[in-house]
Amino acid sequence: MTPTPERRFPESPLVALDTLWFQVAGTLCNLKCTHCFISCSPTNDSHEMMDLPTVRRFLAEAETLGVREYYFTGGEPFMNRQILEILEAALALGPTSVLTNGVLIRPEVANALRRLADASPYSLDIRISIDGWNAAGNDGVRGDGTFERILEGIRNLTDAGLNPVITVTEACAGAATAEGRTRFLSFLRSIGLARPRLKVMPLLRLGAEERRSRAYEACESLVGRELTPDEAEALQCSSCRMVTSKGVYVCPILIDSPDARMGERLSETLRPFGLRHRACYTCHVEGLTCRT
């Protein structure tokens, strides 16, 4: 009988902790997008909201480690009642981005964000997700009526003088092609973004997306692969960690995988990570980074 070969996975080294993520709204969201790789929803509390003192504790550790930039995501970060104070605390230490669906960015929130951006020497980027150039495309993924509500959030930001980054996933068919990008950029100009900033994201076949399209196939794995040092260092997990209410995870994608939790404090997570997850395949093959 032939022995089963050992299943070996390549590792990603932690080259430098440059980017620190916070799952600041946990997995709680006001929307229930059908492509969400961590299945966020109004009722998913598997990761809880983070409060200001908790965020501050990690920011203090990040400062001593020389972290370069901060990202806040969820769930929907603007469901967190302390989000503006949290962003202010991060902006005192470095450039800060917040990933949002935009629905809760009312004029007073947009104006408060503008004040925070102006008060810091570092960049504040608001990144808004939209999944199509019309309601028919977007609402099928993000929910009925969300297209108009997202556009209103974008308008409120532009009225406040902020130029958000717009993210579209490949759930919007053709968005990743050159023609699709051109069409999307034209759409963004048509809604008042004179200098459109666009990020196109591949899909992760996890969580809700696994049910919407398909799960990863057996061949979509890094098992047995050897990555060159350059390839390993190109992965976002070589320079990031993700903080949630449950601890510190390797990256923003794998927070539903208990074995991707690397410790309680950042200092416990400064070590390599085995790339045994299917999403690792997407990051490697597609060159995916969750950073802007």
Binding site: G66, R68, A117, Y122, S123, D125, N163, V165, A178, R181
Partner: protein
């Protein structure tokens, strides 16, 4: 050929008091000539060039002839690394297809017009230079001390990160370029980062002049002064058009506003940008 990707050669150049740093020249040989005159007039005891001698502008060999004739000590930028190794693109590090489109036009022109002898010389340049200014340890790099094409912008290079870079690279001062916009941030007396800007195109500030930087030892530590350089930008623009370079590039030379390769700008710098 040295394999600079494995570990950039570092050359030690000794002690100085007042030093001029020339950032990306991008084939703007007219501005380079003016900058050298201004720097010498200010009594600097050293002039260093931090890479990206070609790109954007016309007749790349003219810049290289001036630099080599003046024996300006220089390090490689990503352009020199790409040109001497005959790479297919500039490795500028852009991520947006709109930026890469114009970057490729620049690179193809520059690769075609740079003579083989100059390309070979680029392969002899170190990746880093070390020197001291008033006893402070300075490390010269192109993008960042850790990566030749890393962008160190003012709004994305915070103090805790600067402290880490200085600690990790045993330096009091890091001098870099690559972004095209000059800035400095000192985290304590005589310790910090200076991005010396670019002589190749204006600093996206609606003004036609370009910039270099003088760092000087003073009682209170180190001081960085950004020096504007006026030059015959009408002539440069004419020559760029004659060479078939994009009118978008020439518009930048005439207006001081970036029209290309600006998607890479972080939020704050983009917010201050006309386009």
């Amino acid at each position: 050929m040295p394999d600079l990707k494995v570990g950039p050669v570092t050359v030690d150049h000794g002690s100085f008091r007042r030093v001029a740093f020339l950032g990306g020249i991008y084939s703007n040989y007219l501005a380079l000539g003016e900058a050298l005159k201004i720097a010498r007039g200010r009594g600097v005891d050293g002039i260093f060039a931090l890479g990206d001698f070609g790109a954007f502008g016309p007749h790349p060999d003219r810049t290289l002839e001036i630099l080599r004739e003046a024996a300006v000590p220089a390090i490689q930028g990503n352009y020199e690394e790409s040109l001497y190794s005959d790479a297919g693109d500039c490795h500028c590090g852009y991520t947006d297809p709109r930026d890469n489109h114009y970057a490729q036009i620049s690179y193809d022109y520059t690769r075609d017009k740079t003579s083989p002898g100059h390309k070979a010389w680029m392969g002899t340049l170190p990746g880093h230079i070390r020197l001291t200014i008033g006893g402070r340890k300075a490390l010269l790099c192109h993008g960042s001390p850790r990566k030749i094409n890393e962008f160190l912008w003012s709004s994305t290079t915070p103090e805790p990160f600067i402290r880490r870079l200085l600690r990790d690279h045993d330096a009091d001062l890091v001098v870099c370029t690559h972004t095209g916009i000059h800035w400095s941030r000192f985290v304590e007396r005589g310790r910090g980062i200076v991005n010396c800007g670019a002589l190749g195109r204006p600093a996206n500030d609606g003004r036609t002049h370009v910039w270099f930087t003088v760092v000087e030892a003073r009682d209170e530590g180190l001081a960085a002064e950004f020096v504007p350089v006026a030059y015959d930008h009408d002539r440069l623009g004419r020559e760029m058009l004659d060479e078939g370079l994009p009118p978008e590039f020439v518009e930048t030379i005439h207006t001081g506003d970036w029209t290309t390769c600006l998607e890479i700008l972080p939020g704050k710098e983009r917010g201050q940008s006309r386009f």
